[in-house]
Symmetry: C2
Amino acid sequence: MANRVIAYEHLFQFVVNAFSAIGCSLEDATLGATVLLSADLRGIDSHGVARLSGYIRLWQAKRINAIPNIKKIHETPSTAVVDGDAGLGLVVAPYAMRIAMAKAEEVGTGWVSVQNSNHFGIAGYHAMMALEKDMIGIAMTNASALVAPTFGKEKMLGTNPIAVAIPAGKEPAFVADFATTTAANGKLEILQRKSEDTPFGWVQDAEGKESQDANILKKGGALLPLGSDREHGSHKGYALGSIVDIFSAVLSGASYGPWAPPFPAYIPIPTDMPGKGLGHFFGAMRIDAFRTAEDFKMHMDQWIQRFRNTTPIHAEQPVLVPGDPERISETIRRKEGIPLYESVYKDLVETASLLHINL
Amino acid sequence: MANRVIAYEHLFQFVVNAFSAIGCSLEDATLGATVLLSADLRGIDSHGVARLSGYIRLWQAKRINAIPNIKKIHETPSTAVVDGDAGLGLVVAPYAMRIAMAKAEEVGTGWVSVQNSNHFGIAGYHAMMALEKDMIGIAMTNASALVAPTFGKEKMLGTNPIAVAIPAGKEPAFVADFATTTAANGKLEILQRKSEDTPFGWVQDAEGKESQDANILKKGGALLPLGSDREHGSHKGYALGSIVDIFSAVLSGASYGPWAPPFPAYIPIPTDMPGKGLGHFFGAMRIDAFRTAEDFKMHMDQWIQRFRNTTPIHAEQPVLVPGDPERISETIRRKEGIPLYESVYKDLVETASLLHINL
């Protein structure tokens, strides 16, 4: 368990200071901190402050541009392509999502593919931006290759998450946000800290044989697509991860598949990159482009209530609606603070020292 | 194994005659036969002529309207809602997909949600309609509830498939088309015929316990979402199936979740249906709404070639690109004919007799 708890506001100011220290505008530093820490609030610890030093190292390696000129390079009434100018994905992504929402305002839906970006935090944050406008929000991104396709030995795809946020009425919104692998890389990191094995079906070794070694990715192994093996539908997880890769990177002109730029700054950029940087894809659909928001929300409330009231297998574990665990985490952590592993805290101390800021 | 092979053209004329016999126009009967048999050609035997008698029984039960007045009931420049007037989904779906494509022609993308429809055959057919226009095609549908959500005992969702078709250049198109469950219901039917067990992870029994009984759905059991169990990501498959349900049915005003109308005509329609009939969702995105089709296709060719050349685990089983098995099946079956199980053939004989047509 984590052995240190820091108030959200304190951590927020620290991250703003860190992004400011590398040269981000106050606006970008604030937005970047908001997006990054939404992961810690929502309990997705692998994508929050634990990654801050990784972003800083990418900036040191000149792979992240703190003062990007983010711009549309192509558009139609319902689409756009955005060049992130190697900016923080945490900042590029909301820029692109706002374009998608503005287009949805005009013509019903908006769809934006992004090239030349970097890691954008949790997909769910960007998808959820649409909710307050009574829109459905969609966000996805490609990522460093860690996943072997069905029947393959090589790491060819990232964990390529998909997030879909759907507004409801009295009920909280439906928010799905998941990696297209059986287990996200963050789950492996948790087991590594505890020196525990993974269940079968999460990873394979360098020869493509089943493995339970949480450190297997460092030994040539790979994560498995959602479904784990062919018999249990891994070709579907592989297809989903591929769709995310193509929408995010082939459609935008970013780098795709095994050429996606790696997050760890010490890993060299692949040679012969077919495109620019990482890619994202965003969508916004105005509910009333289909039916009145009032009718839709009434039915979403019924949908959510009916699913939450599914007869459970075990009385003590009710059926959840996507977004429930993250929302509960956010309520608790806003009040009680963000728990940090000592290793993550040490990492923040080092980052503070490097950037001459206080933690 | 199937023990009878019928030429595609012969089977096609038979299905045209069957749909004509229930009152469809020649145009609708021809389209319906084309869509239905695309499943048999592509090797998805559960969704082709094996279902013909099911459609006829729904027509007998007055749940399918052979002469529907399919119409748009709402639209914006990039969206529409279509009322299928209880028509054959095989006919309603291409109508809706053509609207999506026409909107994409105008404003870059088109998105159509459909209410008051019926089973639409394979999702892949509709998604692939977009390919010849250099568009990405997307198709999904909700379906009779057969799937239990993670932690639940009740059947709450259909196998709710997603299809995405993406054009390439010299390479054949990328065509993903999959149920959001670990195994589609058709796979269970194959095992039932052979009196074989399922692998663990495909189904659960009425109490939510693991099961290998291929007949368990008739005994209160349920199919499992892609991922099989919580530890292997079934909450992700559950979220995916839910997204398909909401986009197809809540957005359109169709009936959703456990209220989706059942395919077998002998199962009563659920009471208190919150919407009309089954729902579908279609999308079309013009490639050149993002970048030139030429550049995109060049990169898709590279994507496909690189993935197909992934180092395989076993030399005799190369890595496939989504759509490969179906395309190979179609090439063979167009030439050599459609293999039919004797039970399916008998079913066609009975349908021929009922409708006073020749097989």
